[in-house]
C-alpha cells in the first residue's frame, strides 16, 4: 500500500523488539468479542491512485460547476476570482502539513501569517483587534452573542430581520439549549431594511443587537443609528459581514459603532467548495479581549531579543480553562485564513477598493438588465453586489426551471425562509467580477423565457 512505509520484515523485527508474537497481541485490551477477525465485509479493498481518481472524477462530473454556467448565487457564499498564486502558496507543505503552532520556535511561519491576518481583519472591519479565525460566519455569530452576554451580563439578544436565516437558525438552535433569550425580528420585503423595528426592539435588558451589513436581501442598514440606540441603553452591536469584499466600498462597521464584527471570509481566497471549509472572521474592541473566543496570536521577543510570535491569552481557552473556557473551540480555520490573507495581500487596500467597485458595477449592470424583463422588479434602494429581485411567481420554481436551461440564477427566498410565505416571490441575485456581459444577457433571456412559460 503506497502510504504505508513498514515492510513485512520491518513489522516482524519490530514485534520481536516489543516482545509480541503478532500485531493482534497489541490489541489484547479490546474484548475478544468486539475484535473484528478481518476487514469489514461488504466494503471495497484498497485501490490505486488511478482508480480512485477515476471514481472521484466521475462524481465531480455529475455537478454543474459555477464556472460552467451563467452563475448568480450569493446568499452568504460568493464566487470570486482567486489568483493562482494563492492556491499554490497554501499547498506549500510547510503550511499545509503543519499543526497548530504550539511550538513557536518552529512555527513562526504560521504565527506571523496569523498576526498579519489579525491585523488585516481588524483594519478591514475597523475594529481594534481580531482573532486567528473561527469555523465560519454562522458559528462566529453565535460566539459573538455569547461574548456580548459575558460582557453585559444580560441575556436578551435581538436579531435583525435581515440576518441570514441559517445564521439565525444556528443561533436559535444553540440558544434553545443555553436558555439565552433570542428575539428574532421577521424578515420583510421592503426596499430598505427596517432599522426602526430593530431600534424599537432594544430595551434595557438587551445584551446585543445582531445586524447583518449588507443584509441577507442585499440592503444596507444604518449601523450608526442602530449603534447609537443600542449604546444608549448599554447594549452591544454585533455587525455580521457575509461579503467582506463589500468593505472595499462601504464603510467599515467598526467606524459606525459596531462593538463586535463577525463575518464569513470565504469571498477572499477560499472559493465556494459547496459550503465548506469556510472562514469565520471575528474582530472587536480591545477592551473586550479577555472575553473573546478562539485563538489569538501575539507579538513577543525570543531569548536573543528577536521579534517573534506566539499563541497568547490562552487562559481563555479550553485546554487551560476546561469547563470555564470562553468557548469550546479548539481548531480554527488556519489554512483558509492563510488563503484569505494571501489574497488580501495581493490586493492591498487600493486593489480591494477597485475590486469592490467592479463588483458593484457588475451588479448595477445585472439589475439594469433584469429590470427590463417583463414582470420583474428590483426591491432594493441600495445594494453592493447582491439584491432581491421580485418575480411574478414563486422563485423556487423559477430557479429550478432556470437550472433546466443551464443557468444558475440566484437563491430563492423560499428556500432560505420556507415558512415566510410573503417572501416566496423573492430571488436573491449576486454578481461579482467574474460575471460577464454574456452571463447577464443569458440570465435575462432565460428568465424572460421561463416567466413567459416557454418550455426548456
Amino acid at each position: 500500500m503506497r502510504y504505508l512505509p513498514l515492510t513485512p520484515a520491518d513489522r516482524a523485527s519490530m514485534l520481536e523488539t516489543i516482545g509480541a508474537a503478532t500485531v493482534d497481541d497489541l490489541f489484547i485490551d479490546v474484548p475478544a468479542e468486539a475484535r473484528l477477525a478481518g476487514p469489514i465485509e461488504g466494503l471495497p479493498a484498497h485501490a490505486s491512485e488511478m482508480a480512485v481518481e477515476r471514481h472521484m472524477s466521475a462524481l465531480a462530473a455529475k455537478n454543474l460547476s459555477a464556472g460552467a454556467a451563467p452563475f448568480f448565487l450569493g446568499a452568504g457564499a460568493y464566487r470570486h476570482h482567486v489568483p493562482a498564486s494563492v492556491d499554490h502558496l497554501i499547498q506549500r507543505g510547510e503550511f499545509l502539513t503543519a499543526y497548530t503552532p504550539y511550538q513557536p520556535e518552529i512555527a513562526q511561519g504560521t504565527l506571523q501569517v496569523l498576526f498579519e491576518f489579525q491585523t488585516q481583519v481588524a483594519r478591514l472591519f475597523g475594529t481594534d483587534i481580531a482573532n486567528a479565525s473561527m469555523y465560519d460566519g454562522s458559528t462566529a455569530c453565535w460566539e459573538a452573542i455569547l461574548m456580548a452576554a459575558r460582557i453585559t451580563r444580560k441575556g436578551r439578544s435581538v436579531l435583525s430581520g435581515g440576518l441570514h436565516p441559517h445564521y439565525g437558525e444556528v443561533v436559535r438552535t444553540m440558544a434553545k439549549f443555553t436558555k439565552d433569550d433570542i428575539v428574532s425580528l421577521a424578515p420583510e420585503l421592503t426596499a430598505d431594511p427596517d432599522d426602526a423595528a430593530v431600534i424599537a426592539a432594544i430595551d434595557a435588558t438587551t445584551s446585543c443587537v445582531v445586524v447583518q451589513y449588507p443584509d441577507v436581501m442585499g440592503r444596507i442598514p444604518d449601523l450608526a443609528a442602530i449603534s447609537e440606540a443600542a449604546h444608549a441603553v448599554g447594549a452591544l452591536v454585533i455587525a455580521v459581514i457575509t461579503e467582506p469584499v463589500a468593505l472595499g466600498l462601504i464603510e467599515a462597521p467598526g467606524m459606525l459603532g459596531a462593538d463586535i464584527v463577525v463575518g464569513e471570509g470565504q469571498s477572499l481566497g477560499v472559493g465556494l467548495q459547496f459550503g465548506g471549509p469556510y472562514l469565520g472572521l471575528f474582530g472587536c474592541r480591545e477592551k473586550f479581549v479577555r472575553q473573546m473566543p478562539g485563538r489569538l496570536c501575539g507579538q513577543t521577543v525570543d531569548a536573543e531579543g528577536k521579534r517573534g510570535f506566539v499563541l497568547t491569552l490562552s487562559t481563555r481557552e479550553q485546554h487551560i480553562r476546561r469547563e470555564k473556557a470562553t468557548s469550546n473551540i479548539c481548531t480554527n480555520s488556519g489554512l483558509c485564513a492563510l488563503a484569505f490573507s494571501i489574497h488580501l495581500t495581493l490586493l492591498g487596500g487600493e486593489g480591494l477598493a477597485r475590486l469592490a467597485a467592479v463588483n458593484h458595477a457588475r451588479a448595477q449592470q445585472t439589475f439594469e438588465r433584469l429590470a427590463k424583463v417583463p414582470g420583474v422588479t428590483i426591491l432594493n434602494t441600495a445594494y453592493f453586489n447582491e439584491a432581491t429581485v421580485i418575480l411574478p411567481r414563486d422563485a423556487r420554481e423559477v430557479v429550478r426551471e432556470l437550472a433546466d436551461r443551464q443557468v444558475l440564477g440566484g437563491v430563492s427566498l423560499g428556500r432560505l425562509f420556507p415558512v415566510a410565505d410573503g417572501l416566496h416571490n423573492g430571488l436573491l441575485v449576486a454578481a461579482t467580477e467574474t460575471t460577464t456581459d454574456e452571463d447577464i444577457e443569458a440570465f435575462a433571456t432565460a428568465l424572460e423565457a421561463v416567466l413567459a412559460g416557454a418550455s426548456a
Binding site: M1, P5, L6, S13, M14, L36, P39, I40, L43, A47, V52, S57, K62, N63, S65, A66, G67, A77, S85, E94, T97, Y99, Q103, E105, I106, Q108, G109, F115, T127, D128, Y135, E169, V170, F177, K179, I220, E251, M255, F274, P277, Q299, R322, E323, C330, G334, L335, C336, I342, L346, L347, G348, G351, L355, V358, H360, R362, Q364, Y383, A403, V411
Partner: protein
C-alpha cells in the same frame, strides 16, 4: 545503536561550535528572516490586475461609502510569492519529518486528496445550487457517510460539524434533544479527568454541569467511581477511547451498560479512532455518539490549525435528533438534502442547525479519497501499523524514560512517558525543546494531566522503521543528557528560527495587531481605525 537508514548513512558531525558572525543582511544562507507584509507593502502596489469599473457607484449607495481606502498595503505577485515562501520555511511540517504530537495524529496527507478536492465539480459549486445540479457532491457526502457508519457500526451520522469540538457539541445536543423528547431534565455530564479540555468545555457550552471521574493507577477510567456517580441527574458520560493515555478502555461495554441502565447516554470522543479503525466498531461497545476527526484518522491536512471536520456517528436512540442538513436518497434514486424547507416530512425531531451550509465539503472529498485509497483492508493495516509503531517507541525507550502505564500491557497508537528521574531542574520542556534541535517536532507535552510531566508520543502509521529508529536514538540521547544535567538543554532550541519565546510578555502586554510606525503614511492610529 540503531541504523539511521537501510544503508547505515549518517550526516557527518562537522565542526561543532563554529563561530557565528553577524551578516549585513541579518540572513544566514538559507536561514532567511522575513518582515511583516505591512512593512514590505505599500498602498500603491497591487498583485492583481483589475478592470476599471464600468459604472460609478449608484446614487443609493453614496451615503454608505467608505471615507478612506482600507489601510492595507499591497504587494505584487513576485513579492507575495516570496513573502509567503520565506515564511513557510520557518515552519516544521509532517512533509519535513516526524511530527509525533500525541492525540493530534499528524500523518501523511496524500496529494491525491488535494487534487480531487480541487476538481471544479467539487471546488466550484455553490452550497445553495439547485439539488439537481449537485448530485455528485451529495453523493460524496452519502458515500463518506456510509463508510463512517459501517466502520463504526452505528446507525447514522451527522455530517455538518466543522471540527472535533464542534462534533462533541453536536453529540451532546443530540443527547439533550433526546432527553427533552423523553421529558427528562438531566443536567450532569461525567468526564474523566484525563479527557481533552474540549470535553468539559463542550459540556459546559451545551449547558451541562461537569463532574470529573478519576483514573485508576493503570490509566483507565475508574469504573466503580463512575458507577457511583450515576443517577437520575446524569445525562451521560464522555469517554475517550482509546483514551488520552494511549490505552484502550477494556470496560467500555460495562460502562455503557451501566450508563444506559441509569437512563443516560454514552458519548465517545473519537479523536483516537485511528488506532482502532477496521479493528473494532464503537457501535459494538454501546456508544451512542462519537465524533470522527477527519483531519486525524482520515488524513485531511491540519493546515497550521484547521480547518478540521467532525462528523458524528449516532446510535438508533440518537439518530432522529441529528441536526440539519443531511442527505437522504429518494425512491427515484436521486439524493436529497434535508433542510428547513422539507424537514417536517419525517425529520421533525432534528434539533436544529449547527452551521450555515452543509459542513466541510472540501474535507469530505479528501477523506473519501483517502478511504477509497486504503479500502477496508488498508484501513485495518493503518490501525495496526500505528499501534505497532507506538509500541516500538514505548519498548525502545522505557528503560530510560519512565512509562507510567507500560506494565499494564501494550499501548494503542501513542506511547506515554513522564519526566520522573531526570536530573534536578530538568523536565519535559527540556526534552521537547531538545528534540527541535535534533530536527524533530516535539511530542505533546504536559498532557494528559493525570501524569506529571507527561510526554505523549504518537508516531502514526506514516513513519518508517528507519525514521522511528532515528527518532528513538535522539529521544534516548536527550533523556541521557537530561539525566546527566546537561545545562545546554535549558536554552534549547539553539538551531531553530527562534530561540525560546517570551510567552509571559506576550500575555502581559498583548500586541495582537501590527501597530505601525508613528509618522508613516497609511498607518492609522488606533482612534482612526475605530478604537475605543
Amino acid at each position: 545503536m540503531n541504523a539511521p537508514n537501510a544503508s547505515g548513512w549518517r550526516p557527518s558531525m562537522g565542526e561543532a561550535g563554529e563561530a557565528k558572525f553577524a551578516t549585513s543582511s541579518g540572513d544566514y544562507g538559507l536561514m532567511l528572516e522575513e518582515a511583516l507584509s505591512f512593512e514590505l507593502g505599500s498602498a500603491d502596489k497591487c498583485g492583481v490586475d483589475i478592470d476599471e469599473p464600468s459604472r460609478a457607484p449608484a446614487a443609493g449607495l453614496s451615503k454608505f461609502l467608505r471615507k478612506s481606502t482600507p489601510a492595507l498595503p499591497g504587494l505584487t505577485e513576485p513579492e507575495t510569492v516570496r513573502h509567503y515562501t520565506r515564511l513557510s520555511r520557518q515552519n516544521y511540517a509532517i512533509d519535513l519529518g516526524p511530527f509525533p504530537l500525541g492525540s493530534c495524529t499528524m500523518k501523511h496527507n496524500p496529494r491525491l486528496n488535494e487534487k480531487m478536492a480541487r476538481l471544479p465539480g467539487f471546488a466550484d459549486v455553490h452550497p445553495m445550487q439547485p439539488q439537481t445540479t449537485v448530485q455528485g457532491a451529495l453523493e460524496v457526502i452519502e458515500q463518506l457517510a456510509d463508510w463512517l457508519i459501517t466502520l463504526t457500526g452505528m446507525a447514522s451520522v451527522a455530517m455538518s460539524p466543522k471540527a472535533g469540538a464542534h462534533g462533541e457539541l453536536c453529540g451532546l445536543l443530540c443527547i439533550r434533544a433526546a432527553l427533552d423528547a423523553r421529558g427528562e431534565t438531566r443536567d450532569v455530564v461525567l468526564v474523566p479527568e484525563s479527557a481533552h479540555g474540549t470535553n468539559p468545555a463542550t459540556a459546559a457550552f451545551a449547558g451541562f454541569k461537569v463532574e470529573s471521574i478519576p483514573a485508576t493507577p493503570a490509566g483507565r477510567v475508574d469504573v466503580a467511581a463512575l458507577k457511583a456517580k450515576l443517577g437520575p441527574n446524569v445525562a451521560g458520560v464522555m469517554i475517550t477511547n482509546p483514551n488520552t493515555c494511549g490505552l484502550f478502555e477494556p470496560d467500555m461495554r460495562e460502562i455503557a451498560d451501566a450508563v444506559h441502565a441509569a437512563g443516560g447516554y454514552v458519548y465517545c470522543d473519537g479523536a483516537n479512532f485511528n488506532a482502532i479503525v477496521g479493528k473494532v466498531r464503537p457501535g459494538d461497545l454501546g456508544v451512542d455518539a462519537m465524533h470522527i476527526n477527519l483531519h486525524k484518522t482520515f488524513s485531511t491536512p491540519h493546515g497550521g490549525g484547521g480547518p478540521g471536520a467532525g462528523p458524528v456517528v449516532l446510535s438508533e436512540a440518537l439518530a432522529p435528533f441529528a441536526p440539519l442538513p443531511f442527505v437522504t436518497r429518494g425512491a427515484d434514486g436521486s439524493i436529497h438534502l434535508v433542510e428547513e424547507e422539507n424537514a417536517a416530512e419525517g425529520h421533525a425531531q432534528a434539533f436544529g442547525r449547527m452551521v450555515a451550509f452543509h459542513g466541510q465539503m472540501g474535507m469530505f472529498t479528501r477523506a473519501l479519497t483517502y478511504i477509497l485509497s486504503h479500502g477496508a483492508d488498508g484501513l485495518r493495516t493503518v490501525a495496526e501499523d500505528a499501534v505497532l509503531n507506538a509500541n516500538y517507541v514505548l519498548r525502545s525507550c522505557e528503560d530510560l524514560l519512565p512509562a507510567p502505564f507500560a506494565d499494564s500491557g501494550p499501548c494503542m497508537h501513542e506511547a506515554l512517558f513522564s519526566d520522573a528521574g531526570l536530573a534536578e531542574g530538568f523536565s519535559t520542556l527540556d526534552i521537547a525543546k531538545g528534540l527541535i534541535d535534533e530536527g524533530f517536532h516535539p511530542m505533546t507535552v504536559y498532557f494528559p494531566l493525570v501524569v506529571k510531566g507527561a510526554m505523549l508520543v504518537e508516531p502514526t502509521e506514516t513513519e518508517s522503521k528507519a525514521g522511528l529508529d532515528r527518532f528513538i536514538a535522539s529521544l534516548r540521547s536527550l533523556a541521557e543528557r537530561a539525566k546527566a544535567g546537561d545545562e545546554s538543554l535549558h536554552s534549547a532550541p539553539h538551531f531553530a528560527p527562534r530561540r525560546r519565546l517570551d510567552e509571559t510578555l506576550a500575555a502581559r502586554k498583548p500586541v495582537l495587531v501590527w501597530q505601525g510606525e508613528p509618522g508613516i503614511p497609511g498607518t492609522p492610529s488606533l482612534s482612526e481605525i475605530g478604537g475605543s
